[in-house]
Each structure stands twice: as C-alpha cells, then as structure tokens.
Amino acid sequence: MADVTLMKTPAETALAQAFESAKTLLPGNVESRAQAFELFSARGLPHRRVEEFKYTDLRAFLREAAPFAVAPSSKEAAAALENAKALAGVEALQVPFVNGHFVRDAVDFKSLPEGIEIVPLGEALADNHDWLARLSPVPWASDNPVYQLNTSFMADGVMIRVVGEVTAPLHLRFVTAAESAVATATRVLVLVEDGASVTLLESHESTDGANHQPNDVVELIAGDGTKVQHVRVNAEGDKALALSTMAIKVGADAAFNSINVVTGAAVSRHQVFAVLNGENTNLRVNGATMLKGSQHGDSTLVVEHAAPQCESRELFKTIIDGEATGVFQGKIIVPHHAQKTDGRMMSAAVLLGEGGAMNNKPELEIFADDVQCAHGATCGQLDEDLLFYLMARGLPKKEAESLLVQAFLGEAVEFVENEAAREALVATVEGWLKARG
C-alpha cells in the first residue's frame, strides 16, 4: 500500500510542537524519546478503527492537548499534598508527585525503611543508572500509543528497589493541583528483587473542573519468590482525561495481586500488561469501577503466560449509573510451551440506570494444548428478587441497592491484605454510593 500522509488533528499537532520544544529539556537520552514519539506520530492518536481503542476513541476524547505542567514550588506541593485524600489514612511511606513532578522534600532519603532504595528518575536517566538496563519494556507496552506518549514526555518519576520483606506499604501519590488544565507524564520503575515482598499503593487525584490529562506509567519487575500486593485508586477530578499503564513482569514462584478502583475522571483508561516469566506464579489482576453521569471508564488488560504452570485470575467488576460507559478488554495469551496454565478472566457489570452502556471484550489466545482457561462476561441489572427480599426486610430501595452493589464489588477487593487499605477501598465504595443519593 502506498504511503498515506495523515491529516493531523489539532491535538496531534500540539503534541508534536510540545515534543519539539521539550525534548532537549527533558532528562535522559533524546534518542529514545524521539524514537517513541516517532512511533506514536506515525499512527497518531488511536481512534475507533484501531481495534485496541475501538471503545475508547482517544482522537475524539482528546481534542485539545493541555500544556505540560511545570514543577510546583515546594509551598504549592505541600499544600496539594495536604489536601489530597485518596488512601490518605493508610500508614505508608509516601512517595508523592505533584503536577507530575516528584516531591523530593517529602521523602527523607536518609531514613528510608530497610530494603527500600529510591532514585529520582531525572537523575537516573541523566546518569544512565545501572537499574535502567534491567528494564526492557513489555511488548504490548512499547507498541502502545499511550505508553509511547509517556515515554516521549516523561518528565519525572522515581526508581524504587525493594529487597527483602518490607512491611510498611509504599504509597505512590499522584496529585494534580493546578487550577487550569495541565498534562503530566510520570514514570515509576519498581524493581522487586528475588524473595522480596512489598505492598504498593497508588493514588491518583486531581482538581475538579479542569481538563487535566495525566498519563502515568508504572513498570514493575518482580523476581523469583516475590510477593507483591498492589492497590490503585483513580480518584481523578471530574473533567480529567486520565490515561495510565501498568507493565508487569513476574518471575517464578511469585504472587502478584493487584486491584484498580476507579471512581474518578470524565474519561479514564487503565492498561495492564503483564508477563509471567517463571513457573508456579500466581497473578491476580482485579478491577472495581464505579461510573456515573457521562463518565467513560476503560480497563484494558493483556496477560501473557510466558512460562508453564502459572495461575492467573482476572476479575473486573463495573457499576454503571446514569449514562456512563464502561469498557473491559481483557486478553490471556498462552504460548505453545506454557503447559498447565490455569487462567480465568471474568468481567461482570451491573447497570443501575437505563442509559448506561458496557462494552465487554474478553479474549483467549491459546497455543498450548494442556491448559485450563476460561473467560466470561456478564452485564445486567441488580437481581429484582434479591432487591425484593431486602426490601421485604425493611431496607428502602436505595439502601437495598447499595448493599447489593457493595457485595458485588466486595468480591474484587477482599484479597487486599493491608487492612487499612482494604477499609479505605470499602469506604470509597460507600462514599460513591452515598453520593448517588
């Protein structure tokens, strides 16, 4: 086919201009950024004719590219963190980012808990830090336009290394506090060394009323025998267009458990790309999404069982109120050598109102012949008979609905071992239901 010159949208043009003026100012190797941006601009913003973005047309959603945020003053950063609420009550080592920039003052580098090392990403990129060599991106990530944009523009972030058993959770706090719309691109790299264990919390929040455009990437490499619990909360502002990616590689005999709880943003898309590289590993990737009004929430997932005898469980629960739209796209890939794979993926959605929509696309790609894999997708309303049973016991309709919604979402949350974090998630659900009235 002949080369076609693509018409650029105003947002694509603005991104190209932003990249030209920023590329030499951003830390690290310009070449790798330029490469990523070239890959991105060759195809432009993905739209509904691109299969992976069929239900989340970024060309339509991202009409205007917001300017990239500058680093806040320490006073601004402190005020922003003071006001931040998501997972705030959970005792943890705070690693905060305000307007996409790492708040260095907030971390006491001299007295980090044993087993934790933190290096600001800017320094790591500038010095071409040793750890960077260990990070080779997960294939679906490097080919993904959202990830490519982050690679092009990543302005700040941290690298974290975990050794041994770390008891206090690490809390990555992403706060966008600017009053007018800004874009951010942060990158966090987490290395969990063989035999280490850690609880990683992630919260994302931003001011209401501004069309913020965060694009955050967390890359995590967990070695053999590791144990990771990951809790992510999207509490972005009501006008935000929030894009995020988590790329995971897990070694042998490991346990990786993750949940993403979504209530925020006008439009959100969270992508998880996971590769199981060692045998006998258990992976759990869950989601609990609550959408109302005209919110659009997309959970996209690819899990590759690159080694035999691993087990993966993916459970995504979505509640849709008003005229909101939910998207679940999940794929489990089992190459021919990954025998004895056990993978189960489930997406269940409940529509509370009349005007909502849910798009479910579960896929299995299996080349091995001795595997157990299943996927399922459901979409429906709350069970009328259960509602009647609860009402016959005296619960008003809204309360009966709330109890059923809590039970429905609870299944995705119950694995979280950190009690304060689990309670914070339950409180998030309760808060959402209460706001529903």
């Binding site: 009647f388 016991r393 005296g394 619960l395």
Partner: protein, 250 residues
C-alpha cells in the same frame, strides 16, 4: 388486625386471586391450606408487596392502614414479615451485616434510635441460640451454602429479631427434616403473643401439629372456600382437597 377484602390479583394476565376475603385477628394463628396452584404463595407475595403482581381490585388493611399503597420496606416497618418459602442467597453480604442493616432500617423508619453494636450482638446471639444456629453461620454470607433447614432457621431468626406484628410463613415446613421442623416451630411458638398474628401457609397438617392454629382456611382457585377451627386441618388430611375441586376441569 389484618383484613383482606375482595382481593383480585393477576400476574402476566393470569388471574391468581379471585375475590379473596380473609380476616386475621390480633393474637391469632391462621393457617391457610390448599392444593398446588391455589394461590397461596401469591397471597404471601402480595401481602409483602412484590412488584410483579397486579392488584385489580380489593384492599388489604393492617390495623386499618392500606398496605397496597406501601412499598415493601414500608410494610416491613409497620410490622409485616414474610418468611420466604425459598430464602434467597446473598453472596458477599455477611448474615450479621444483613441483620444489622435490616434491623436498623426498620428502627429508623419508625423513628427509633439505631441499636448499639453490643446490644445488637446480644440480641442476635440470644435468638441464634434458641434456634440452634451456630455463630460461624452468622459470619458467612447470608444463606450462601446453607442447607434448606438452615435457611428456614435463618428466616425465623430474622423474625425473632425484627419482632414484626404480622408474620407470614410461606411453606416454612417444606424441605425440613423432623428435627429442623421442631426447632423452627419452637422458634415460632416462642414468638406467639396477644399482639402478634400469624398467617401460616402450608400443604400439610404436619406443621400444624407443632404450630397449632386458631383458625384454618382452605384456599382454592384464588379464594377462601372454607374456614374452620384446627380440626379442619385434620379433616383435610383425611379427605384431601377433592371436594373443593368440583366443577373444575380435570
């Protein structure tokens, strides 16, 4: 206490109740017996306020208040309780959580204070002990994985906690073995009071040996065709429902 006058009900264009009249007085245990399909369960659902049923005519008054104008939760708050023939399983909701939510919702609707947690637990434990419900059952999701007998005991536990004034037992004896029948019946009998009335729906005389009714009503084709004392149940057990089927196509 309860007055049902000329009740006509249909579901999806199918007539189920055809001019049913029934009065149950305070302190009375009224049994309703009747063959399959006579409309017994429909009556219980209509009393509790299930949506699918269309009331074409008639009225239901509880202490003079029109139940038909109330939502199911409002009926519960004025004292109506339906012990379900098939209690529903609610995955993800612990029995304790459920009990507390329902009890407090009813108290709130009546303008009463919510119960404190220790007070609540004390009441639950007392009721559970009487019904031989083990404590770990209360921690499990409501009715999930419970046996038929356990589910029925859980219904009676709810009744004991909520202290309704008008209790409907819809085939509470179905699926119960002899021991469970005894436990459930004892639970019901313990709740007998001059201020409380019961409507006991059953196919069999067996339950009425344990829960002795004051009145027995025979239901057929959506209306009460005969009423009498407890001896009527024994007559039915001996003669069956055949005499009420006259005039009906075979």
């Amino acid at each position: 206490m309860l007055e049902i006058k000329n009740l006509h009900v249909q579901i999806e264009d199918k007539r189920i109740l055809n001019g049913l009249n029934l009065t149950v007085n305070k302190g009375e245990i009224a049994a309703i017996m009747g063959p399959n399909g006579s409309g017994k369960s429909t009556l219980s659902y209509v009393l509790a306020g299930k949506e699918d049923y269309e009331v074409l005519d008639g009225e239901i008054l509880l202490d003079g208040e029109n139940l038909l104008e109330m939502e199911p939760d409002e009926r519960a708050a004025v004292g109506v309780f339906l012990a379900f023939q098939y209690p529903l399983e609610i995955p993800g909701v612990a029995s304790m959580t459920f009990l507390k939510a329902t009890l407090n919702a009813q108290r709130k609707a009546r303008g009463e204070e919510e119960l404190s947690t220790p007070d609540f637990i004390k009441r639950v434990n007392a009721a559970a002990q009487q019904l031989e419900i083990p404590k770990d059952m209360l921690k499990r999701a409501l009715n999930v994985g419970f046996s038929g007998g356990e589910k029925k005991r859980m219904e009676i536990l709810q009744m004991a906690l909520l202290q309704p004034s008008f209790c409907i037992l819809d085939e509470t004896d179905s699926g119960l073995d002899i021991d469970a029948l005894r436990i459930v019946s004892e639970g019901v009998n313990a709740l007998r009071s001059p201020d409380r009335a019961f409507l006991v729906i059953t196919h069999y005389q067996r339950l009425l040996n344990h829960i002795v009714p004051d009145t027995v009503h025979v239901m057929h084709s959506g209306r009460i065709v005969k009423s009498g004392g407890k001896e009527l149940a024994l007559e039915l057990e001996a003669s069956g429902y055949a005499e009420y089927r006259t005039g009906e196509a075979a």
